[in-house]
C-alpha cells in the first residue's frame, strides 16, 4: 500500500472520495503479496494494482459499485487450475481482496506516520458486524500482513536496519544491495580515514565508532541484519559478542574457515556458547563462487533472504 499513499494523499487534497481494494490473503502463489492495494477515485482514476493486470478489470467494477454506495465486501478470485489461462492469473493462484471506502483522515495520518518511519499498522474489519471499519494501531511485532479473526492487519514498519561493519569495498556493494532489499543501511568502522561519505555515498549513514560500542547503542530487532566484514579479531570478537546478545535475525561474518575457527575459539574464551556461535553465518554468504565484491554482496543478500524466509539454505 505504501506505493499508492502519495497518490491517495493527493486525491484527499483534491477532495476526492475513493475506494481501495486490498489483497488480504493469497493461496499458493499469486503475482502480488497481501497488502497490495488498488485504489479507484470517484473520477475513475486508478492507482496501484492487486495482481499485475489479471483481475484488475473485475476489481475495478467492484470498486465502482462501492463508490456508488454499495457495501464493503470481501471478494475471492479462485482460479481452478484448468481455468488459470482463461481467467488470466499467470500462476493459477487464489487471491482474496477486500473492498471498502477509505477514510480521509485516516489516510493522511497513515501517510505522515510512514514518512516519519513510525511503527504503525492499518487494522481493517474485513468480516463481521463492523465490516469496513478502519483504525490505525500500534505495530506489535507484526511485520507481515495478517488476518486475525475479523481483522486484517497491514503493518507499516520502518525499514529494517542493516549494519555493515568494516569500511571496505565489499561494504559499499553490500550497502547498495541492502538498500535494494529495503534495508536502512549503516556502515560503521573505527577508522575515520576509511569510513567516509565520499566512499559510501549510497548508504543511509556512515559512522566512525568502535563497532561493538556502536552496536551496543543501536536499535536491533529480529529483522535486523548484521554483516561483519572487518576481518580483524580485534574488532570482530567484541562486536560478535554484542551481536549475539541481540535478537538480530541475521548475523554474518567474513573470514575463511581457519579464521572463523580461531575467532570462535576466542569467542568461547569470552563465554560464548556453541549454541550462540551457531547463529553466526561464517564464512558469510552462500557458496556461489563469488569473486568480486559485488558478487560477494549478492551471496550475502541471498543468504539473508533464505534466512528471513526460513528456507533451507542451498548447499
Amino acid at each position: 500500500m505504501k506505493d499508492v499513499l502519495d497518490t491517495l494523499e493527493g486525491w484527499n487534497a483534491e477532495g476526492l472520495r475513493f475506494a481501495t481494494a486490498t489483497v488480504v490473503k493469497t493461496e499458493r502463489s499469486a503475482p502480488r503479496a497481501p497488502g497490495s492495494v488498488l485504489a479507484v477515485s470517484e473520477k475513475g482514476e486508478v492507482a496501484g494494482s492487486v495482481t499485475g493486470g489479471c483481475v484488475e478489470p473485475a476489481v475495478y467494477g467492484e470498486a465502482q459499485d462501492v463508490l456508488a454506495g454499495g457495501p464493503p465486501r470481501l471478494v475471492t478470485y479462485g482460479i481452478a487450475d484448468e481455468e488459470a489461462f482463461e481467467v488470466g492469473l499467470p500462476c493459477g493462484g487464489t487471491v482474496h481482496i477486500f473492498l471498502g471506502m477509505a477514510e480521509r483522515d485516516l489516510i493522511d495520518e497513515l501517510a505522515s506516520a510512514v514518512r516519519d518511519e513510525r511503527p504503525v499498522a492499518l487494522a481493517t474489519e474485513i468480516s463481521g458486524t463492523e465490516i469496513g471499519k478502519q483504525r490505525i494501531v500500534e505495530l506489535n511485532g507484526h511485520f507481515e500482513p495478517a488476518i486475525d479473526g475479523d481483522t486484517f492487519f497491514l503493518p507499516f514498519a520502518p525499514r529494517p536496519e542493516m549494519y555493515v561493519f568494516g569500511a571496505v569495498d565489499h561494504a559499499g556493494a553490500m550497502g547498495r544491495i541492502g538498500k535494494f532489499l529495503g534495508y536502512r543501511v549503516t556502515i560503521c568502522d573505527a577508522r575515520a580515514r576509511f569510513a567516509t561519505r565520499e566512499r559510501f555515498p549510497d548508504v543511509d549513514e556512515v559512522v566512525v565508532q568502535w563497532p561493538d560500542e556502536f552496536l551496543r547503542g543501536a536499535p536491533v530487532d529480529e529483522r535486523t541484519a548484521i554483516c561483519v566484514l572487518t576481518h580483524d579479531h580485534k574488532f570482530d570478537v567484541p562486536l560478535l559478542k554484542v551481536a549475539l546478545e541481540t535478537p538480530a535475525g541475521y548475523i554474518g561474518a567474513m573470514g575463511a574457515k581457519r579464521t572463523t575457527e580461531s575467532r570462535n575459539e576466542r569467542l568461547r574464551e569470552e563465554g560464548v556458547t556453541d549454541e550462540q556461535l551457531a547463529r553466526i553465518h561464517a564464512p558469510i554468504g552462500l557458496r556461489i563462487g563469488s569473486r568480486t565484491p559485488e558478487e560477494v554482496a549478492v551471496a550475502v543478500a541471498a543468504e539473508i533472504v533464505a534466512t528471513r524466509r526460513k528456507a533451507a539454505v542451498p548447499a
Binding site: G92, L181, A302, V305, R309
Partner: protein
Amino acid sequence: MRPVDVLVRAGELASAGEPFALATVVSVRRPASARRGDRAVVTAGGAVYGWVGGSCSEPTVVREALAALADGESRLVSTEGSCASEGAVEILVEPQLPAPLLAIVGESPAAETLARLAAGIDWRVTRGLDEHADAVVVATMGRGDEEALAAALAGPAGYVGLVASAKRAEAVVAALRAAGVGEDALARLKSPAGLDLGPIRQEEVAVAILAELVAWRHARTPSAPPPEETVDPVCGMTVSLASGETFVHEGTTYAFCCAGCRARFEADPERYVVIGA
C-alpha cells in the same frame, strides 16, 4: 609502444566489449630483453600489442593468454628454460572477459527489478531477446513466456530461466514439450529461475535469480574450448596452434615459437619430423 600505451589499447578493447588478456612482466633475471613492468595485450585471435620480451616469451605468453581466456583464470608464467640466453622472466597473465550479457524478456515488475539489480553488479543488461546474450531470463507474467523461451533455448545462451510459480512453470514446460522443444533444450531451462530461497517479494526473487546467475557464471564449463597446443618441432617449446607461426607439411599443421624456427623447418622438414609421431 610504451607500457602506458598498452593500457590505453586495453581500455579501447574493454570499451568495445572485446575479450583480451593483459600480460605484465613482474620479475626479471638478467640477461633478458624485458624489464619489470613491461606490458602487452593479447587478443582472442592471438595478436600481441606491446612488449614482454621477444621470441623467448611471446609464444608462451600467447599460449597462456588464450588458455586464460578459455578458463577465466589469471596465471603467473615463467620463460625458464625456453630461452637460449640464461635469463628468464615471470609474467602475470590476466584474462579480461567482457561482462556477461543478460537479456531480460518481459515488462513485469519482476523483470524491472532484476534489470536494476543485475546492472548493479556490472552485468550488461538488455531488454528483450538478444542473440548474443549469455543468459536469458523470461518474466512476461504469462504474456508470451512460451514463445520467448522457445526462441532462447534455440539460441546459444548458456542460462535460460523462467520467472513463474512452480505450478505455472510446470505448465509452461509442458507447453514447450508439446510444441516440440527437445529434452536437451528443456534440461537447460531453469524453471522457476533462481535459487530456492523461499523468496516472496520482487526484490527477493531478483536476488535469488542473480545468485543463481553468479553461481552459473563461475561454475560453467569454459565457453571456448582450450586452445590446441603442440610442440615446436625445432626447439621443443610448447606453443599454441593459434600463434600464427604455422606450416603445413604432408597434411599436418606444425606450429613454431617464432619465424626463425619456422624457416628452419621449411628448409628441411624431414630433419625435424619424428617418424611415427
